[in-house]
Symmetry: C2
Subunit: 203 residues, 2 copies
């Protein structure tokens, strides 16, 4: 495969479409449209005409967003949020998450978003994924997944007006009940982690 050019198709503030022209394995010219939050998605650095790949390839070392899998140390429960997602026009069960602010480290984003969305305090990190990709057929969106121990009492005091959130703390038995509720919309990551937690009691 050979990436030829990447063209920005729209000019919105937070999300845009890009078109990649490339050659497939048989040398046929092809194109692929994707969505990105970046002004210059990483793939632009891999184009045939890229001037200095050796420098450019090292530029983007941060994910777009951080997703926290919070485990409450005192209650020994997994923390979830039930959040209104504008894009779905409905509530979704997910984990606290948010975009990485400029200059922020992954651990800082995790701590900040956990506090803002649940009121809980991040106590210690269990494990952190590398930069991983949400759905690379249609977007270059990348996240880091941070498993962390937390403490404190849930509070919505730090929510913004644009956020409509309920905090849940659940045992593995309660996870199983949620998974068996057909009306609930789940985020992909949350469904996978919950289904493991329901079966093993572990995250």
């Amino acid at each position: 495969m050979n990436i030829i050019t990447t063209e920005k198709l729209t000019d919105f503030k937070h999300l845009n479409l890009f078109n990649i022209k490339y050659q497939d394995r048989a040398g046929n010219p092809k194109s692929w449209i994707f969505a990105s939050r970046s002004e210059t998605p990483d793939v632009t650095l891999n184009t045939t005409n890229s001037v200095d790949v050796s420098i450019n390839k090292t530029v983007n070392k941060m994910p777009h967003a951080v997703v926290v899998v919070p485990f409450h140390m005192n209650y020994q429960k997994l923390v979830l949020i039930r959040e209104f997602r504008v894009v779905l026009g409905d509530y979704q069960y997910g984990f606290p998450a948010g975009l990485v602010d400029k200059g922020e480290q992954i651990e800082e984003t995790a701590e900040r978003e956990l506090k803002e969305e649940t009121g809980l305090e991040l106590v210690s990190f269990i494990r952190t994924s590398p930069i991983i990709y949400s759905s690379s057929g249609m977007t270059d969106e990348s996240i880091a997944l941070v498993y962390a121990n937390c403490s404190g009492e849930p509070s919505l005091e730090w929510n913004e007006d644009s956020e409509d959130i309920e905090v849940l703390m659940i045992s593995s038995e309660e996870a199983q009940k949620l998974l068996e509720t057909p009306e609930i919309k789940f985020d992909v990551k949350t469904w996978i982690v919950l289904s493991i937690f329901a079966r093993t009691g572990k995250i």
Copy 2:
């Protein structure tokens, strides 16, 4: 929260941007741009001006895509693919996956995509997720995750020219080694499943 209108912003074949106008909790007018593969994303059915919500809400019962987590019964190994992702301009480790064809059931898509991308035969279904959402901050993309037993020998005979795929079959020890390789780009779902498989030997 109150969804007011949804407007289609672009007119491409496979992926488009939409703008949702809504009121936040405090009644402030807000907007949110997202990417969708649908001509009429589900959220359009939740607008204040929607004519007949009772009918419309039942329309979209299929996910956009199916992702298969294949476990090889004879080798007792998890099956992965290393695939060139145009959007990343690089190879990514993931699971076989693809869009649901018109009229297809989830189980049929799983069987077809597993065969096309790995040459393996789907033998039995272990469990199937409900419709779950990839990253609902930026897209309405939905998938079903199908855990399945498979058999046969890996083959790239059914790959299309636009596909550049290598099939891997791994033990939990080999999963751990992949997870410790910093150069590898992982899909989100794959990283979560792999990290559980590496620790417990289970999927």
